[in-house]
Symmetry: C2
């Protein structure tokens, strides 16, 4: 077992090499004719320009935080780990986006010449580059720092998670603003005002819209899951480090366990991806689901053996003293995480694709006001079961192995991130393929195939979002547990407790709750205002360049990409800084108890708002699609118009503000974990 962990970085590296070969394999498919290549190149270039500009701004932030950490913390290597975490997240983004934005035309071409099965393969393998990059880079980075510091100074590893979190915030918030600015702007002018279909090449916003799908759902989601993945492992290591109880070598075992889980998780994902060629002749929905099941079952089985081996020489008394119920305790926690993730996914699917969307579609008959009211009610209702499952996962994993169990449940939920993220990335590739088919005027059967792939992609995207929030909740709670456990290791804080009947804790709880509200308000306003600029630009082009509508002059798509990029980058800075600074300020000025309450309040409110907004948005989207299928009057009816309003309102809900919550709650916890020593020192300086 130790052998496996010592070479964890090597398994990560191997995963990356595999991702590279898959990338080459996908690139071996032809991208189609000149027009298709041109469109693909435009999307690719737009995405890369966005990433480059985004990374330039992020790098300033990263350098500043690096310097602050270097100066403020005693363990200088923490700041190096921070840098490494940030770089790994950035690299995963570049690799995944490179593959995805060059797979879209290839998917469309495969649909044209080979049919659905090949198109499905190309889209899936194109997405799996992102999936494998996320899992492998995480393992590589964690492996290196684990090897170097687990034995001497495990706190250093926390820095890696903070680096990942910092990138994730910017990628999610910036990406979210970009994608919805482009989507809302081009839809409102193109579809509603000019009456041209979605993805019509005459719409100046079409490229920005296509770029946005990649920026939001691939780069944003990737950074999000990368953060959860790394964060849950780091939290488990941090808690594990406090579990030695003086028995030689035992703390190391608990620290190794999460690393082992993600090693077997990566292997399970690789096998699942490798077997996909055998599944490609099924319906896209079954192929993807079965891929997920294969990876999941392999992961569960191998986790069982991992846990059995690790706890083999531990006495029942020792386990009990740690609050671990029997030698299989950690296995139950892993299982709890997987089951909770699947249940949350199923509930999300129910609320965004089943009966509730018909209820919204029905309400659309009496106008857009009732569409909004019923959709919001569906969103509120949809919060209940996922939160219940999260609560049960917390409770049961705690019963099975204490606070450590909560972190392990998080690791379990994310163990097969290589596969989950592959399925998530598949969606935008299919969506883009459809866009290219439309813009390049490809034969109808191509659009039919890509539409079929895209429809499945919408469902996987909705499930992915539920999953992302669930994992964010567990990761944030695990981090929160790590913060409080670490707190107890400071001199004078041996009896540190976060008593809810203590006013500082309650004060912190309320202060924490207002941060997600503010972040959601800021990001939503950002989309609203940027979309306004985008609308004016598209209107201007239609007005001033008469050749566009006639199809004789191409629209200036670059200006729209530029508007979305600038808006996204400008608007992501303030929320980002607020998220990083607020826990530090609360900790310093109101004290560590308030900080604990603050994190709990922010996590709780973030989870609630995140689920509410993501699910309401998804439900409105699919209610509109349900009407478009011919229900309640179909396309062009009053119900459809109301449905479009719901869909537009849902856009920033589900793709900007909702997902931003995931990141926020994780980032605030990890910032607290890393800066805790400095916070305590300054607090003591002020209050003595």
């Amino acid at each position: 077992m130790e052998f496996l962990v010592n070479y964890a970085w090597l398994w990560g590296l191997l995963g990356l090499v595999l991702a590279f070969f898959i990338y080459k394999y996908v690139m071996s498919f032809p991208p189609g004719d000149k027009v298709m290549v041109e469109i693909m190149e435009r999307i690719h270039a737009g995405a890369m320009v966005f990433l480059k500009r985004e990374y330039k701004i992020i790098s300033v932030f990263i350098v500043v935080v690096f310097v602050l950490l270097y100066m403020g913390l005693d363990h200088k290597m923490t700041s190096v780990a921070f840098l490494a975490g940030a770089i790994c997240s950035l690299m995963a983004g570049v690799f995944g986006m490179q593959a995805a934005t060059l797979s879209n035309a290839r998917t469309a071409e495969a649909a044209k010449t080979h049919g659905q099965a090949t198109a499905l393969t190309v889209a899936f393998f194109g997405g799996s580059v992102m999936g494998l990059s996320v899992a492998s880079l995480g393992l590589l980075g964690l492996g290196v720092f684990f090897m170097l510091f687990a034995g001497t100074d495990p706190g250093v590893i926390n820095g890696f998670a903070m680096g990942a979190s910092s990138i994730a915030l910017f990628a999610r918030v910036g990406g979210g603003i970009f994608t919805k600015t482009a989507d809302v702007g081009s839809d409102l002018v193109g579809k509603v005002e000019a009456g041209i279909p979605e993805d019509d090449p005459r719409n100046p916003g079409v490229t920005a819209d296509n770029v946005g799908d990649n920026v939001g759902d691939i780069a944003g989601m990737g950074a999000d899951l990368f953060e959860s993945y790394v964060g849950s492992v780091v939290a488990a290591i941090a808690i594990g480090a406090t579990m030695g109880l003086g028995v030689e070598g035992m703390a190391m075992k608990w620290m190794m366990l999460p690393m082992l889980f993600i090693i077997v998780g990566l292997a399970s994902s690789v096998i699942g991806i490798g077997l996909f060629n055998m599944l490609k002749n099924m319906s896209p929905q079954s192929a993807l689901s079965n891929g997920l099941y294969i990876a999941g079952v392999l992961f569960i089985a191998s986790s069982y053996f991992v846990v059995k081996t690790i706890t083999a020489d531990m006495t029942p008394e020792y386990l009990q003293s740690l609050g671990i119920r029997g030698p299989l305790g950690p296995f139950w926690a892993v299982l709890m995480g997987i089951v909770a993730g699947m249940l949350i996914g199923a509930v999300t699917e129910y609320y965004t694709a089943r009966k509730p969307i018909r209820r919204i579609a029905e309400a659309s008959q009496t106008g857009s006001a009732t569409t909004i009211i019923s959709g919001f009610a569906v969103g509120l209702e949809s919060v209940a079961l996922p939160v219940f499952f999260i609560a049960m996962a917390i409770w049961l994993s705690y019963l099975s192995c204490g606070l450590y169990g909560i972190a392990i449940a998080g690791v379990g939920m994310l163990g097969t991130v290589g596969m989950t993220m592959s399925v998530d990335s598949y969606g935008p590739i299919s969506d883009n393929a459809g866009g290219i088919a439309e813009q390049a005027h490809m034969p109808p059967h191509v659009r039919e195939i890509t539409d079929g792939l895209d429809a499945v992609g919408n469902t996987t995207a909705a499930i992915g979002k539920g999953f992302a929030i669930g994992s964010a909740a567990l990761t944030a709670l695990a981090m929160f547990a790590a913060v409080s456990q670490t707190m107890k290791t400071y001199p004078g804080f041996e009896n540190f407790a976060l008593d809810l009947t203590e006013a500082h804790v309650i004060t912190g709880l309320f202060l924490g709750a207002l941060i997600p509200c503010l972040l959601a308000a800021m990001t939503m306003t950002a989309v609203g205002e940027a979309a306004f600029d985008m609308i004016n630009e598209i209107r201007r082009q239609f007005r001033e360049i008469p050749g566009i509508m006639a199809g004789t002059t191409p629209p200036d798509t670059n200006s729209c990409v530029d508007i979305a990029t600038t808006a996204a980058l400008k608007r992501m800075i303030l929320p980002g800084i607020a998220a990083v600074i607020s826990p530090v300020l609360v900790g310093i000025f109101i004290g560590p108890e308030a900080l604990g309450g603050f994190l709990a309040g922010a996590t709780l409110t973030g989870v609630i708002l995140g689920l509410l907004m993501a699910n309401a948005g998804g439900a409105w989207d699919n209610a509109k699609k349900y009407i478009e299928q011919g229900n309640f009057g179909g396309k062009g009816s009053d119900a459809h118009k109301a449905g479009v309003v719901g869909d537009t309102v849902g856009d920033p809900f589900k793709d900007t503000s909702g997902p931003a919550m995931n990141i926020l709650i994780k980032l605030m916890s990890v910032v607290s974990l890393v800066t805790l020593p400095a916070i305590i020192a300054i607090y003591h300086m002020i209050y003595g």
Copy 2:
């Protein structure tokens, strides 16, 4: 001082007598011509029928709970106190509604014959019957039980708060569903489809709409504030009872203090109301604000002397051992409550009447989707400052006198409820007066005056809502503190703590958070579906009775009142039962720690959702009004249409689901406080 408290019930009775004379005074104004009287009678009858039917259902619930409490608790008198609390709340509702629904026509007539000043007086004094009834009945009931049980068994008094809470839930939820079913239904068909103005006598839903204003904003708000008022006093008494520290007679002093505050608070309100005749020639806004200021300043001044007298013979050491900072400690907590209440009111006014509504109105130019997005963003943003003020009030009042301080801050915020509630009730009376002016075709200058009064009423209503949530938060937290302090008095629970790093507490926290979401979803769905029935009924009448639109046949307004009544009563039961049972279940099955987390999670989420929905709703309402004043195209423009959608969405937000949150969080806390002994007993039976 003791003399004052011993006769607290007498002061309450005197307040009631005063309310009766004010009622007689208002009734001495003429109600106008036959048409006006007829409309008034219809509204009056509709309101009374609703109350009667509502009370019939509630009484079943009350009797069941009474029997359960009687059988389940050792202190049988607690169930009697419960009954008394329920009856006092019901009586306040009847008295207030009786006065309000007979003041509307009198206000309109006064506007016609005497002008604005007299109309303002009639509307205000009509509302003050509700204000004085709430304050006096609260004092009367609390006074009786205090006199009988404070010295021997103060826990009995908790029952009074639970009775008040139970009624409040039904009054708020039922009233909220009634008012918005009527409003949304009659607006969508009348204003949007048939193109007739609001309050047009040809609209079959007009009476239901007018009744709804009273049912929601007077009976609902009255029960809400009655509950907060009683609840904060009861929590302060419960905490005070634990503060004796073995010093003879000291616990009694801390228990007396909140009673003294509400006695001087009632006196301050009475003086404020009495002086209103001197203010009536000011603008309505200034007159009402100055009335509030006068009562507030008197209350602060008299609280200062009350605190000085009570703590006069306490040693600094004794005070310090209780965490009370100096002999003026409780005074600072009272002041903190008042200041926080005023600040929350000011923020609410800003978000629902200033720059943010212009932002929403501007966004309405690009359609209803952007109206909704910007309004929701305003709602989210508006949560931040009030939550910040609540957090600061908690922190500072705790610093000034411990957990007791939080309860005292709540008492401070509600001390002048007699005045606050009078101002709140003034709004619907003016609104109704305008409706009567319209339906009775009164001269334009009448409508002008009533519109002016109504506009101020909208602002006071918005502030009142912010205030109601703020006071609910403090009351719920005070109750929560009382629960945990009481917990520590049980054998085996001396060291009871709610450690947030303990999984049961976190599990409870998450479970608690899902309840407000579910309640909001249920109430919102109820309005959506009941409005749908109402719409169909109004459409049917327009279709089948051609004489309605010609003005020759009166519409059947009773059927609409009946639809709203039935829907409200049917739909309030499930949420009501869920709110009462859920804390008991959590406490019994997951344990008292989980119950503590549960209450904290529910309070936090309830406050966030309550503020979000109330303020977003208020902002949409006023954004529409802002457009109607001629901005961005004025009435009939596309921006106006979008504004109407926002207003309609905001209706259930601000008047049904939002206010339901206030009650929910208080009710769950008080149920826990009262049933705690039974919960602990059953928990021990199950888990040993």
